[in-house]
């Protein structure tokens, strides 16, 4: 491991200044992703600025009825939070389906959003990877792609974003609050993560030294009826093959509104806007759900090792929506 310096930030502006002014610096959250990458040689910061002592560890109700989640809130605390459990059950479920209890106790909200892909080539410094080393090529294409993308990939990178939490947050239309040297800015989470395009080394729109301070969830009354379903080989402690986060607003047998996002399918948590559009105003039937899934999947382009994801997403989306609509029917 590269020798590095460590400091503990005592205020947000100081943390931003420390990292922004130092090209080799990185923020340290729970460290469950960054420290692994340092051991693997995937990341080699020479300065770690520990932000876990900053006062970003609260979940607060906003006057608008939404919720503000501090970037330092641990995944386990967020999953257990009463506000989250009652208003956004899908988010609590998504968090609990991720990693293991020990990891969730360490992992922070900000770090979770910024965790990097699990593409096995990205994690192995001996193999070419455009995301790790721009311009070296993509080893996954033509290689081992069981976990890779079916939507929004490019010829330069076919990796997926591994977070469960982010999928639920994208469905909930979250906003990321970011502090930079010039002050605060707000970025819609759907626009926060990027598609790989021809510069896959940029996971997000965040600049060096910009600090996530919070994630805000707007009020969404019908999200009280929402669910997160993760499909994986193991019953626990495994990344998603695919996942579906959904909330459904049904009245009189008709879908008034819907929120659907997919995990394990793209370089970013994938908001299923095509599916949502197809659902709005449609009868709440299995047939509509299937059509919504097909609408979203029309753009899917499988690789050699992951064609199974198309039926898996379709079936899972239909199952989640059906279960939600069954709950809605008194």
């Amino acid at each position: 491991m590269n020798p590095f310096a460590y400091e503990r930030a005592s205020n947000a502006a100081g943390a931003v200044a420390a990292v922004a002014g130092h090209p080799g610096a990185a923020f340290l959250g729970g460290g469950t992703n960054l420290v692994d990458h340092m051991r693997l040689g995937v990341a080699s910061p020479d300065l770690l600025v520990d932000i876990t002592k900053l006062p970003f560890d609260r979940v607060e109700e906003l006057p608008s009825g939404g919720v503000r989640i501090g970037a330092g809130v641990r995944n386990s605390d967020l999953a257990a939070d009463q506000l989250i459990r009652s208003r956004y059950p899908m988010l609590s479920q998504a968090l609990l389906s991720g990693a293991s209890g020990q990891l969730r106790n360490l992992a922070t909200t900000g770090g979770n959003l910024l965790q990097r892909t699990r593409c096995v080539y990205f994690q192995d410094v001996t193999t070419p990877c455009n995301k790790r080393e721009p311009g070296t090529g993509c080893s996954a294409i033509g290689g081992y792609t069981r976990y890779h993308a079916i939507l929004g990939a490019s010829e330069h990178c076919v990796a997926v974003h591994p977070s469960d939490m982010a999928v639920a947050m994208v469905a909930l239309d979250a906003t990321v609050v970011v502090l930079g040297r010039l002050g605060e800015r707000r970025v819609k989470l759907v626009e926060f993560h990027r598609l790989p395009g021809d510069d896959p080394w940029q996971d997000t729109v965040l600049g060096h030294g910009e600090l996530i301070v919070a994630v805000e969830l707007p009020a969404l009354p019908f999200a009280t009826r929402s669910a997160y379903r993760k499909v994986r080989d193991r019953a626990s402690f495994a990344f998603a093959l695919v996942s579906v986060a959904a909330a459904l607003d049904v009245e009189g047998g008709t879908v008034r509104d819907a929120r659907v996002a997919l995990g394990g399918v793209a370089h970013k948590p994938w908001r299923a806007t095509q599916a949502e559009a197809a659902l709005r105003g449609a009868p709440a039937t299995a047939e509509s759900f299937r059509r919504a899934a097909d609408a979203e999947l029309a753009a899917a382009r499988p690789l050699d090792g992951n064609a199974y994801k198309i039926p898996m997403v379709r079936n899972t989306m239909v199952a989640v929506l059906r279960d939600l609509s069954a709950e809605a029917t008194p």
Binding site: M1, V231, R234
Partner: protein
Amino acid sequence: MIVGQPVDRRDGRMKVTGRARYAAEFPLQGLAHAVLVQSTIAAGTILSFDTADAKGQPGVLAIITPDDAPRLQTKKASQQMVTAPLLQDKDIIYNGQHVAVVVADTLDRALEAAARVRVQYRQGEAVTIMDQALGQAAVPKHFRNGARPPDSQRGDPDAAFATAPVKIDVTYTTPVEHHNPMEPHATIAMWQGDRLTVWTATQGISGAQTTLATLFGVEPQNVRVVSPYVGGGFGCKGNTWPPATLAAMAARVVGRPVKLVLTRAQMYTSNGYRPRTIQKLKLGADQTGKLLAMRHDGFSQMSQPVLGEFVEPVALATEMLYACPNVAVSHRIVPVNQGLPTYMRAPGEASGVFALESAMDELAIALKMDPIALRLANYAEIDPHENKPFSSKKLRECYAQGAAKFEWSRRTPGPRSMRDGRWLVGLGMATATYPNNRRAASARVRLGTDGVAIVQSGTQDIGTGTYTVMAQVAADELHLPLSHVRFELGDTRYPKAPVSGGSSTVPSVSPAVQAACAALRARLFDMAIADPRTGWSGASHSDLRFENGVVIGPDRRITVPQLLAHQNLAFVEAEAESKPGDEKNEHSLHAFGAQFAEVRVDLETGEIRLTRCVGAFDAGRVLNAKTARSQLIGGITYGIGMALFEKTEVDAETGRIVNANIAEYLVPVNADIPPIETILVANDDRIGNPVGVKGMGELPMVGAAAAVANAVWHATGVRVRDLPIRIEDVLA
């Protein structure tokens, strides 16, 4: 009787409180740390090393490459060249091969320097995937160490198959798997002149002693191997793989004790793996289910021939499991640019019985017959291959008791015929068998004035309970309470015992312990008879008893301290060796079992979850009901991993193992393991060995994957012939 009771593991408290000292945990003065550098290409030659940057790092003591590595006596070392690569040449034959060792004063410094070693290669042609090299399939030269040919035939299976009214003709495949013991391979090596001491994680201290002595050209008695605790082996610590040797080499180079612990990623290219197999199965039967023909042709992945030979003996169980007059089996190896494969829990049987018992299920379906009834219709009363009686075989009882506990009778025969809400339910079963192996072993026992018997044997406890069960055997033989028996192992200063492999530790070492204790008792009786103060002169051993540290004879008793005092002795000691006789010539020695699995498959997502397992086993006499059950549930769990999760993914282009960590290589977690009920059918097999035991470390893994695959078929109607069974295989 203490034997048989569910005595707690004696090492348990030490382990859960962190006081048990594993190989990497011995504190030595001046300990330096070694880190391996491994190749990043799959074939070719090393042109040069650039070590300037690495050497300049703080704390670096040495960088050993083939350019300057001490020469070793590798030629003499062993049949399977598990001793290579040892930096003796510059050829690269697989990706992840050791090419250099970096030694520094701390681990972090060694790691950083190792990352800075640059290697220039001339790249060669590599074939990295077995399926691309089937044209190179070769006949093994040293199958079973030359004890038998790789092929066998009885009757005329091809003719019988051609005319059989019901036929199964299918191909099964199993992937490369890695052992993934919790404790990685670790060694501390220390030289004092020409004397070498190693603390190492090994399943075989004697083998390590011999191998290291040979490689370094020193006398075996100058090599001491210490291994009191091993954090799991499953076969990957059975041989003396290069890291142990490289640690000793590094210690010699830097003139300090050196510790070398593999990283998890290095565990995937340093100590073997279960090779991929491709197995062609043909079964022919008549309408009543009587087997008329069986053919089992197995291909297994091998490394390049310079590393010797390892064959996965997939078809041996097929020879002996069913009474069929016409049977042929064959074994071939396919060389690729990968490391040397090795034994992994139930080598041969785990992969081979998956294929055989899946094919039997397919045959039962074709015959519309109950799977257990089909097996009973072909029950082998004697070993049909060796034409010898079994020393004992309680497989019928296993089927019956397992089926009763599992409530097999609730199974409706058709696929997709059982449901539970959104879940399809499937019930499957399979047979298990594993040879009852035994090798020569020795033990020593010493009884002192404190009345405590110290029993020693150079065997190993790889987490299985050796410490506990051997103490139980000794306590019974000496009629001492368990608290008065101490059992010591894991040191080459103790009498020699075999490698803990092939489930042979208990069948080999417990007879030696029993014999040593019997010899000790005889010595005590001799002493008592000769002691003028007992007045027993002329008495024979049968007139005496030894109980709770007291020799009891006609009219009087004498304690051990008294006996010792009369002769001015501090202790009395005896040693014995116990080895197999000709029981193997007259009998076929095997353990057996019946595995049952219940799965649920989600109708929509295809997720496969186990909800119940039952395993009923004939493992001979049970020494400890608790440690036995632990072996059984552990083995079934390992089998579940094989069935549903485990697969080493190789990048075809580079030959690199891409999921070389336990986040991406899936082993089962607690949530995957259903309630497992185990049954040990009553048996006591004194033909196999004088204690009546059969090895049970590997047995419970055999057939587990087939039971799951058969249950998945029953749930879904999908026959998966390629492990692991994945969601995408059953997704509608």
